[in-house]
Amino acid sequence: MKQHPLCTDCEDPVTPLDLPIPAPVKQEWAAIETRRRFLGRSGKVLGWAALAGLFGEMGLRSYADGGDVKSPSAEGRNTLGLPHFAPKAKRAIYLFMSGGPPQMDLFDYKPNLASQFNKDMPDSVRGNQQLTGMTAGQAHFPIAPSHWSFAQHGQTGAWVSDLLPYTARMVDDLTIIKTMNTDAINHEPAIMLMNTGNMNSGKPCLGAWLAYGLGNMNDNLPTFIVLQTKTNPKQNNQPVSSRLWSSGFLSSEYAGVGLRSGADPVLYLADPAGVDRDVRRKMLDTVEQINRQTLAEVGDPETNARIAQYEMAFRMQSSVPELVDLSKEPQSTWDLYGPEAKRPGTFTYNCLLARRMAERGVRFTQIYKRGWDVHGDVVGVLPVLCQETDRGAYALVTDLKRRGLLDDTLVIWAGEFGRTVYSQGGLTQDNYGRDHHPRCFTTWMAGGGVRPGITYGETDAYSYNVVKDPVHVRDFNATILHCLGIDHNKFTYKFQGLDQKLTSPVPAYVVQGLLA
């Protein structure tokens, strides 16, 4: 055979058979690879390729035709058939206490512990539980009773620690759940499980599911907004990342929109000098045309999401300044929220923003407060954490209530897990540390759909195991969806061959005892 001048291969090109492969295997290959087999196999391959082409195109087309960008809330969503039933709550505000608040220092009152100071926790309580690397090596598990005293509050007599004087004032409006439990003992899996129903990243979070399922109420603001609280450098701040408000396999337009925790919640909100609204509009229209062209050519649903996001950004240029302009708030607001609410980035400020968002029809607001990971110096750190969050949470619920918004707003206060009753590190007369604890922790809800003034579930004498009425994270999420009119079992999205849902494939149950 004559060689092409440009061909650098030698006369006998190297084939896979020249690789250092055992001779018997090579012989077997040679014996198998007949012309008949080759032709037969090619035929099948062509058949499969044709089939894949058919199905592939169907899949692609359904994506590309999926969302109408101009009105992501209107027609397309009706086909989801949501809400499944008339909801009690239209919107939700989630106060996320990242790090794991110690339940026995805040809500889960255990008067018997005082007498057991520094005694070892019985092994039978812990059972064969695997502990974190931080305390697994401890020779002793000395019981650390809460440093603070508790009292009963409200008409319903719920127990609340002295650390939360403001929360104590509103217990009659709260549904306190003492028997939350989770599968994970470390932050990242636990916080993912709380938010997305799955310990691994890549799944949509509660807010994204709601944005996808229920859509927006206000065309000019995002459906799902995330507010981060400025961190206190003296606290043990675990990272909080955008994975927690990710849309996972749903279109990225359903992901949470994070506002910055500073004076400028959105950077470059104003048009640059010399660019007026018309110019901006024209530019966006052209960008949209180009994007639509790309969409028609490639059919990637993410292009759709991009178009929607440009539109939202344009509308936010006028809606966000109005949202964060607190100058028209009456004096009664400042009386209720206190001076902290005037400092952008504080938890209290974010709570006030959350109320303003609720008024303006934001479907889901999630406020993250980091620093609850109190492995040591509980006595020093915890009062600061409580003081930073207590009044804001109280003011938010109370403000919603007096303005008539609590009837159809669900407020949720939760961390990713609880903390151990035994001390991590040294236990002294006036200080202790607490490790992560997944088997029970306390959360609360208030507002649309939940029964106010109850304390749900019972834990054992060590606030270690659930004795009665456990509420798993999945049940918690199923209950939240129920309050918003969604049957969590029917709210699915087909991905990777599975009807994916927020409550994951493991059965979850709406906790009827929590419902109004």
């Binding site: 039933f85 008339a86 409006d173 109370t398 008539g404 059965p507």
Partner: protein, 480 residues
């Protein structure tokens, strides 16, 4: 001569052997068919989607063997005078068998794939299997019948097949159309012959606690499986008499002893328990529903009692039940046009049209005035919630709002209403929520609202009429 004799003996032995082999084959296939339901157990769990995809062709294909099987006796009868038709009958019989086999496979794919279970499904499946076995036998026996041997077996088998077909088809029909499909409009005189059609009508119990509170619970949570169509465990809860009759495990209600009532036991188990009801992950009964059932059983489980301690009071304290507002689906085009021209939206409360619409104005709040509100009068009976907060409406809006007869919630916070026309709301009997926060409403203007017993949530924050304190103030109680 000897050769001919030998030949005929050989032919006979060959024929006997073929016939034996055929029968063995038939029996083997029949045995396999009988085993089929045990191999592919209908356990109520759905399986692969492609099974359902194929299975959904079952209702379509099923009519092919039915038609052919009905044709078969006609051909056989006509064949007595026209031999050609009898020859054709043999072909049709084989076709029927083949079509029947495919239909059976598709049917089982459908049931297995979609995860249905229940008495009717099981009966339908066994009917199909029996029918296929009978057809197999027909195929095996027919040659002997043609050749003049076994004169009665084939006609008898054919008759049995037709009867089996009728019964099986009826089960299938019940599955698709529901149990009472044939008897629902049956003349009363005929109904006497069909006991299931004449089951007690609960119309006799109008107004009783059973009708108002108990039966709706069963209707919502139980009847899907314990009703006319499925009758799981032989239990039906759709009529009082059938409820009291109980199911396969005996009575489910023990009057005056809730703890011995099987029904109450099963609904109060842990949801993870195998015997928990409702099964298959359907919505469990709420605490209130269980409490109502318990009180009702404790009071004697009477169908006629009109008041039972505990039940009526709980219902009166609960929020008003949602009133059905009728179906607005026929207005969808107009609703769409209205939204496009006005900017304000009419949003469905839920997927059920009877839950009504929400009038949402937030995107155009500053421009939304009384005139625009008036344009929504067209949809008045369907609007259950009007979000008019921070809009430009004035006291004139009450003229329009008074026509929103099914209105449950009205948001007027931050508007210019003064409250002098609030009396016009008094005709809205469903109104439970009224938000007047941030308006100029005075306490005097609220007087007309006193006559509205259902109006339970009135919000007056930041108005001259605001009560002294709405915040929850509490003094710490002494500890235990």
């Amino acid at each position: 001569m000897i050769a001919a004799h030998k030949l005929s003996a050989a032919i006979r032995s060959l024929r006997i052997r073929t016939v034996t082999a055929q029968w063995l084959c038939t029996l083997g296939l029949s045995a396999m068919l009988v085993m089929l339901p045990f191999a592919v157990r209908l356990n109520g769990r759905p399986h692969a989607d492609w099974l359902q995809f194929l299975g959904r062709f079952h209702p379509l294909l099923v009519h092919l063997p039915i038609g052919m099987l009905v044709l078969l006796p006609c051909l056989e009868l006509a064949g007595t005078t026209r031999p050609g038709l009898r020859e054709g009958a043999g072909f049709v019989l084989h076709l029927t068998l083949a079509a029947g086999a495919i239909t059976l496979v598709l049917g089982i794919s459908l049931a297995y794939g979609s995860g249905v279970m229940g008495a009717t499904v099981t009966r339908h499946m066994w009917g199909g299997i029996a029918l296929l076995i009978e057809l197999l036998m027909c195929v095996t026996v027919r040659p002997a019948w043609i050749s003049g041997q076994l004169q009665r077996v084939y006609p008898a088998l054919l008759t049995v097949s037709l009867l089996t077909l009728t019964w099986t088809a009826h089960q299938g029909g019940s599955l698709t159309h529901g149990g009472g499909y044939l008897t629902l409009y049956m003349p009363g005189a005929l109904k006497g012959f069909f006991p299931s059609a004449s089951a007690a009508s609960d119309a006799a119990y109008v107004g009783s606690v059973y009708t108002r509170y108990i039966h709706p619970i069963f209707d919502a949570k139980c009847v899907a499986c314990h009703g006319a169509s499925k009758e799981q465990a032989g239990l039906r809860l759709d009529f009082y008499e059938l409820l009291m009759k109980g199911g396969r495990d005996g009575a489910v209600i023990a009057p005056r002893s809730p703890d011995r009532s099987l029904l109450l036991q099963r609904v109060t188990l842990s949801p993870s328990d195998r015997h928990f009801m409702p099964a298959e992950g359907r919505a469990p009964l709420t605490a209130d529903e269980i409490a109502a059932l318990r009180s009702w059983i404790l009071a004697g489980a009477s169908p006629t009692a009109t008041s039972i301690p505990g039940i009526a009071t709980a219902a009166e304290n609960a929020d008003l039940p949602l009133q059905s507002v009728g179906d607005y689906s026929y207005l969808m085009n107009e609703i769409r046009q209205m939204q496009e021209s006005q900017g304000a939206k009419l949003v469905a409360v839920s997927a059920k049209p009877s839950d009504g619409l929400i009038l949402r104005t937030i995107d155009v709040a500053s421009k939304f005035d009384d005139a625009q509100l008036a344009r929504f009068q067209r949809f008045a009976p369907f609007i259950v919630e009007a979000e008019l907060g921070r809009t430009a409406v004035s006291d004139e809006c009450f003229d329009t709002l008074s026509k929103f007869t099914n209105l449950r919630a009205l948001h007027l916070e931050g508007t210019a209403v003064t409250g002098r026309a609030l009396a016009k709301l008094s005709s809205l009997s469903q109104l439970t929520y009224l938000n007047l926060s941030g308006t100029k409403v005075t306490s005097g203007a609220l007087a007309p609202l006193n006559g509205m017993p259902n109006l339970r949530h009135i919000y007056l924050f930041d108005t001259p009429a605001e009560p002294a304190s709405v915040a929850t103030n509490s003094t710490p109680r002494s500890t235990q």
